[in-house]
Each structure stands twice: as structure tokens, then as C-alpha cells.
Symmetry: C2
Subunit: 178 residues, 2 copies
Amino acid sequence: MEIEDGSVTRILMGVSESTIKGYPHASISSRGAFDWTIQKIVRYNTSAFKLLFLHVQVPDEDGFDDMDSIYASPEDFKSLTDRDRAKGLHLLAYFVTRCHEIGVSCEAWIKRGDPKEVICHEVKRVQPDLLVVGSRGLGPFQRVFVGTVSEFCVKHAECPVITIKRSADEAPQDPVDD
Amino acid sequence: MEIEDGSVTRILMGVSESTIKGYPHASISSRGAFDWTIQKIVRYNTSAFKLLFLHVQVPDEDGFDDMDSIYASPEDFKSLTDRDRAKGLHLLAYFVTRCHEIGVSCEAWIKRGDPKEVICHEVKRVQPDLLVVGSRGLGPFQRVFVGTVSEFCVKHAECPVITIKRSADEAPQDPVDD
């Protein structure tokens, strides 16, 4: 058993924005999954890994925040799209900056659609060695209402998957928030 | 974010014997999970990891193989127990030897009981950073009959879990075998 010369282990991470009002940028579970991956897998062996960050924007949810706004012209929709893109880029910039500080190479991109479907589709396309997804660690009752991206990916992604559950002391007041 | 000095990432692996008649020692999925962990996670950074091998012997299944034997005295049962222990030790010796060749430190032990329950109990006891389990990658129809240890562990183990599915070209004639 030999490790291929020059090969790196490519880890795809699905990252999401925080749902907490006024809470900026990356969700608690995304940051937890990133920290865990660096501390437990990459460690100081930074040249052996490459992190791939995928952020999936949900078209309907993004619109929901803007129900108070008035859309009177195509230009209004264009500005919404620009704002969404800016938020997504800001999220990815957080992880890309941290990777540069740590010295591990990375790539990051945005897709739109249903996160669980898009993540599994991107796994098929980019063929990472490993998919890491954060999870709020909700109980069975809460899961019925919010669904979980991580459970779907564990079942359907065509590569090994690690789910990193948010630790109890990091959970916000409403555990459905992240 | 600092990696603790002197700390290692402790990876618990649940390993099982092959179910194939005359096929010696470690199951295909256990060997696949081990190879994947070395190639994709440990890589050449051997001093940063410690592998913990847990083999769970199922009392009923072990007895089942011996239905043709005659148990006439307590001594007969004792010899069965010795034989089981020898098989389990042989299995663990395979993984311990490979770790020594690679230069990664390890520990190995045997427990008896229901594998999925015992693995989750041992996770609680030894608190590894990560649990790796192999899986036959069976379809939903086959899973109903054979159950899967990996699905239970993903849901119930109190640490992150990676399931490594057996690759299609390694599957034996009967995919329920391993």
C-alpha cells in the first residue's frame, strides 16, 4: 500500500451562513466542522491536504428575508442577486482567509439549489476523498421539522462522509438556529 | 486555534472477521477501511495518529458455526471459547502488524456482545476523536435483512463517524458476504 506521490487528500466541506439575526457570516456548525478538520485531520501536515469549500444558496430562503422590500423592476431583483452573491462571497472569504493563515491550500465556490442535492451532485463532479458537513445535532423531534442535510449526504454522497455535530455548549438559545 | 502539544488524533476502528468460508481473517470492508484511513488521513504523518482496533465477537454467531460439534462436557465449551479467542487475536494481529510496518502506534482489544451496541459503548469509554467503520455498501432491500452496524454508529456514537463503503470491484459473489 503506497500513498501516491504528489497526491493530496481533497476534503470537500459544505459551509453555510449563520441563521442568527445580526450574527455575522459562517454558521456555528460550519466553523466547528472546519476547526475539527484542521485540529484532528490536517494537523501540521498542511501540504498533504486541500480543502474545497462549497456554499449552497437556497433561492427561496434568500427571498424570504426580503419580504418587506418592494420589487418594482427587474433592477430590484438584480440588486437582490448582487447582495446574495456578496453574502456568499463574504462567507467563503472567511474560510479562505483562515486556510491562508494556516497554510493549507483551498478552493471555494457557490452554487444555488437544494443544499443536500447540490452537495451530493458536487461530490459526484469533483470526486473529493472525503466530505465534511457540520450538523446542529438536533434530536429526532426537531429533525422532523427542519430536515437534515447531513443525514441525506451520509446516505447518498458517493464518498466517505464525516458529520461533525455542534457541541452542546456552542448551541444558541434556539437549537434550530446555527 | 492551536493543536495541543503532544496530542495525537485517536482513531477507533471497528474490525470484523471475514464471513467467507475458508477466507482467512479480516473482512474485506475492515481492510478497506484501514487502507483508506492510512492513505487518506494518516498519510506519512504517522506520529500524529494512534489507531485503536476493537473487535466485537458475537456469542450467538460464533456458536452457530459449531452446530455440528458435540458439547458433552464443560471442557468442550472451554475449548470453543479458546478457539474464538484465538480467531479474534489472529484478526487483531493482522492490523497490529500492519501498523508496526507503517510506523503508526496502535492498541487492540476484543469485546463480546452486539457489535453496534458495544462499539458505541466503547466510544463513550475511550473517547476517540473519530470512529471509522467499514460497510458492505448494501442496498436498502439487503439492509432490511442484515442490519447495518455503520448506520447505528453514525446515529448513536458520541464522536464523529466515517463509514467507508466497500468498493464495487471488491464485493464478493454474494454481497452480504464480507
